[in-house]
Symmetry: C2
């Protein structure tokens, strides 16, 4: 196939907003909106779609906690469940919009992390529900979970280590070569790590992987022509939340490094964009899902480009 | 690739027996046993692995019911979750046993059913927990669910219609051509149906699909060389549970039709085997997972062969 390959990382909140009830119908209607935005891109490009899973993992954790008769499932297994659930909805809704002949496949994705990643010493990602302080203390001592205050109440935090390797890379590549639309690396991939015993035995890892960094690794390894992070903001802003705030339309990695961005939101996206552009010499972009056709055309969002292009 | 292609349908109870606690560790240890049995087959054959999901869907239904704040998820979505969860465990455990270079991919699988399938008029498959009679009555009127007695208590029953089409067939075929071990059609596939409005809009269907019939459709469409249903019995028995009971080592479809088999257990497997053999002229086999290498060699289990072979 001579089509360009575009990797799109879709924010978890684009699929289920924090204000939405966590019902299937709310998820469906958001997925349908996303599919409508994405379908036109499939006409002239290979599309590889990664997505977040934060709200969905939270729901499964709530359900599992409510059914006390079985130990809550670990984060690798919950992540695998959300890859199935979200991947299915996206595949079905997108499939209803693209020509029937166009193949779509959702490929379960395991991602390797390093058990010695410094992130494990400082867990930062909230998962699951808020707890009452006394419950949090009990659960912390029973399970060794770490809690931090989320607003006024304790909530579990887990590490978010660097993605090192995508195990299903070759199958994903083969499918793209056949023109298949591939949905993969959901939720940043299922976190896995090798046991330290030298046997190359892979096991689940109790952490979460940033979906933008995982999608960047995917885009880089696939040698994608364009890497887009689709979110609810229309691009990267400078001096955000001040009278001088303005959209950055185009920047090089060096220019981006002269600014600071919020650790929880734009920071990881900017970091992922810089990595991709510097590794591949191709364009990355950050912008709103609804603008995605114009982002592909370079007419909306923030484009991050190699130095020589500016 | 010139390797033979073998489709194996793995019983849900082979992965989580009814007597097991529904914990991740119980599932893991069963999956590990299955992976050990299957790994040697991968050396000289292409392996396509389908699997059941009955106990796992039951667990997710229990968890969802326990968390009353969100409407329980429908069976298509729960099925997608189990394809993620079980597929992940199998892929990881099998990956730990086959050479690192051997690619493995779990492909989410949607299967079409006909909304006019007569099975919808007579739901027969139990899903989820037993209810107290008064709760069952209330839920039945609220949600339109059908209940039947399972032993002494009401339990939800759903239809099990015929699988008509596997949507991801081409991607699965392309991966096999590259020698990838493919895990797919988990739980008989995610049940889906076209809306009756002629728009070719695919939606989820509130039913379950027999995993042996779905695996048979997969094996037939892939033109597999051998279709194995691996279960906890060592083959098909005649006069089961009588003093004359004996293992049937080899039979043609016509011979099998002269006997009756239990509707809930061996019946669907025998029906699936007959379909496969008559459609392809290749061999089908039913037997124990632990004997699978010998089943491949035709030295264990029950082989169902075309008439001209006997």
């Amino acid at each position: 196939m001579s089509r360009d390959t575009i990797v799109v990382a879709l924010g978890g909140n684009a699929l289920l907003r924090r204000s939405d009830p966590m019902t299937v119908s709310a998820q469906r209607s958001n997925v349908r909106i996303a599919a409508r935005a994405l379908a036109p891109i499939c006409e002239e490009h290979n599309l590889v779609l990664a997505h977040g899973n934060g709200p969905q993992v939270g729901l499964l954790a709530l359900q599992a906690a409510a059914y006390a008769e079985v130990e809550p499932y670990p984060l690798d297994v919950l992540g695998a469940q959300t890859e199935g659930m979200i991947g299915y909805m996206i595949e079905q809704e997108l499939g209803n919009l693209v020509p029937f002949e166009r193949q779509i496949a959702t490929v379960l994705t395991m991602v390797e992390v390093d058990p010695n990643d410094p992130a494990f010493d400082n867990p930062t990602k909230f998962v699951g529900p808020q707890y009452e302080p006394e419950d949090a203390e009990r659960v912390a001592s029973e399970k060794g979970w770490v809690f931090k205050l989320d607003h006024d109440k304790p909530r579990r935090v887990v590490a978010s280590p660097e993605p090192k390797q995508i195990f299903e890379l070759e199958p994903i590549r083969w499918l793209i070569e056949k023109g298949t639309i591939v949905i993969c690396a959901g939720g940043g991939g299922i976190p896995t790590a090798y046991l330290p015993d030298g046997t190359r035995t892979l096991v689940g890892s109790e952490c979460v992987i940033d979906k933008d960094l995982a999608a960047e690794l995917l885009a880089k390894n696939l040698n994608a022509d364009l890497f887009i992070m689709a979110t609810d903001a229309d691009g990267v802003y400078l001096d955000w939340d001040t009278p001088e705030q303005r959209l950055l339309e185009r920047a090089t990695p060096d220019e981006l490094r002269t600014h600071e961005f919020a650790a929880g939101s734009m920071g990881p996206k900017v970091a992922a964009a810089i990595r991709f552009v510097e590794a591949t010499g191709k364009r990355a972009a950050i912008g709103s899902l609804e603008d995605i056709e114009r982002i592909v055309a370079g007419e909306a969002g923030t484009s991050i480009v190699p130095s020589c292009d500016t």
